[in-house]
């Protein structure tokens, strides 16, 4: 480990990290197909780069480095920012440092962390927050959406804070250590279990598919829906989700699926099969 700790060593201060904390909120702004979140990343790095590099060519190289392709899940962004800042700091003080390792680290981490962020934030946290707020929303209370925002954003902001703190402090070592064990796998599995159970319960409570089919059997009224409910409640919503899941697996276009649902509602409703 080459660490030149000479007197004029360049160190980041709380100021640049605080600025990075706020700037990484903007991760998905100005997104585009070609290089995705690259401009937001470069924008968040500007205070760090200006603090660390005195020479123009070093700054230009750093700006260009961080305008390369980049895409991650936004809540995970401060963690990668923190690690990047630590590596840039090392680069500013160590002439032997290979800058390509910074880009390599970003590319190596953005995929797995996006996967964790998507399952943790989009797949679990958002759904739990929506599920808990559901009752209040259905009754038309403004408390519902406020509760949703609070439940979602408290962990969202706490994760951002710890991401930047530990990302900078431990640099590259901590994450590569964790990524090598099965801790990541256990974490995503545990989150998957919680998320799937909540989705299962929400399918039972919020999807509405019922049938009005009824007829007389030798004078006794028979309602298909009541019979279904007594044997297997919410069977029709479950079957519908199963069918649509199968279509997703077959990569049927989402717009086509919406049109199919609209057509099914109109046709099966007119025929008296659903209602």
């Amino acid at each position: 480990m080459m660490m030149t700790m000479n007197s004029d060593g360049k160190r980041l201060t709380k100021k640049e990290l605080t600025s990075g904390f706020w700037r990484t909120f903007s991760t998905s702004h100005a997104w585009h197909f070609e290089r995705q979140q690259h401009m937001a990343f470069a924008w968040s790095m500007i205070p760090v780069i200006k603090k660390l590099y005195d020479k123009k060519e070093d700054r230009v190289a750093a700006y260009e480095r961080h305008l390369e392709f980049y895409n991650c899940q936004t809540t995970m962004q401060p963690l990668i920012f923190g690690i990047t800042a630590a590596m840039e700091e090392e680069n500013a003080n160590n002439p032997e440092f290979d800058t390509s390792s910074i880009s390599a680290m970003k590319v190596a981490l953005m995929g797995p962390l996006a996967g964790i962020g998507d399952s943790l934030i989009a797949g679990t946290l958002r759904i739990i927050a929506t599920g808990i707020a559901a009752g209040l929303c259905l009754s038309g209370s403004l408390v519902g959406p406020l509760l949703f925002l609070l439940l979602y954003n408290t962990p969202n902001i706490v994760l951002r804070y710890f991401g930047i703190k530990y990302g900078y402090r431990f640099g590259n070592t901590l994450i590569t250590k964790i990524a090598g064990t099965d801790v990541m796998h256990k974490l995503t599995t545990a989150l998957g279990i919680v998320g799937l159970m909540v989705i299962g319960a929400m399918v039972a409570t919020t999807v509405s598919v019922t049938t009005p089919i009824a007829f007389d059997i030798s004078g006794t009224a028979f309602s298909l829906q009541e019979t279904l409910d007594s044997i297997f409640p919410r069977l029709l919503p479950l079957g519908t989700v199963g069918l649509l899941y199968w279509m997703n697996r077959k990569h049927v276009n989402v717009l086509l699926q919406i049109l199919i649902i609209m057509a099914a509602g109109i046709v099966l409703g007119a025929l008296g099969i659903l209602g």
């Binding site: 100005a30 401009m39 209370s141 519902g144 949703f148 919680v194």
Partner: protein, 258 residues
């Protein structure tokens, strides 16, 4: 006019959610109530917002796939449902075409306008001009947000009569069909979410959550608590039953541990 401006502002804010940490203020669940406040019918806004939330639930930009624009769709859908005095069927009838049309404009930015502006950011980087990079990033991002705000403003201001006429012309069989579809559409969102997080070995927990709710009527908060305890039980099973570890994780892992 003021209402149209505020509707435009709501859409602008929903789009700018990406600037403030993707705090979910762009979800139908939040936009519906905001539209409700502007148009003076909060309970209706909250209810419609939630119904639309269920439909758009699975639609979140993951990677490079661009779904229908739920922000434009839910803001205009809720707005016109309230002004025409109709319910959630009208909201969906308006929201879907609006969301699909708006997605074309989204693609225009993502595919043409923003990549072109990013070229200027490259030039500023080569010239060591950090203010130039900031300028391109901020102006492009907010130009995007503003564009949709203006579209929503214009659509609400000039589209009202057309939408009223349209809603009045809808035959009852179509209204019935759309209300049935409204019940089914949340299933699409859930199916997308399941596709996103499921793997073979945890699929059974989806059914467990479903059955707990369908047969026992346990609330969502209850389901969350049960699922966390269940994760704890599964972790404990590893501690207490050594043979379970072999069957679950295979032999290699054991060799490392002992």
């Amino acid at each position: 006019m003021l209402q149209a401006l505020l509707i435009g502002l709501i859409v602008f804010m929903g789009k700018a959610d990406y600037f403030i940490g993707t705090a979910m203020v762009g979800r139908p669940l939040v936009l519906g109530p905001l539209v409700g406040i502007v148009l003076g019918d909060i309970p209706m806004g909250v209810k419609i917002g939630f119904e639309l939330e269920l439909i758009f639930m699975g639609m979140q930009a993951i990677g490079a796939s661009i779904p229908p624009d739920m922000i434009m769709g839910s803001a205009l859908g809720t707005a016109f449902a309230i002004t025409t005095g109709n319910g959630v069927e009208t909201a969906i009838t308006i929201a879907m075409p609006a969301a699909i049309l708006s997605a074309f404009v989204v693609n225009l930015f993502y595919g043409v306008i923003t990549p072109l502006m990013a070229r200027s950011a490259d030039k500023y980087a080569a010239a060591d001009n950090d203010k130039g990079i900031s300028l391109i990033f901020l102006s492009n991002g907010f130009l995007f947000d503003l564009t949709f705000g203006v579209i929503a403003f214009a659509a609400f201001l000039f589209g009202g009569d057309a939408v009223s006429a349209l809603v009045a012309a809808i035959p009852s069989w179509l209204t019935v069909g759309i209300s049935i579809a409204a019940g089914i559409l949340p299933a699409l969102g859930f199916a997308q979410l399941i596709s996103m997080i499921i793997s073979k070995n945890i699929a059974v927990f989806f059914f467990f959550g479903f059955l707990l709710s369908a047969y026992l009527g346990i609330s969502i908060v209850g389901i969350v608590c049960f699922s966390i305890v269940l994760v704890g039980i599964l972790l404990m099973a590893h501690e207490f039953i050594p043979s379970a570890k072999v069957t679950v994780e295979g032999g290699n892992d054991d060799d490392n541990e002992f």
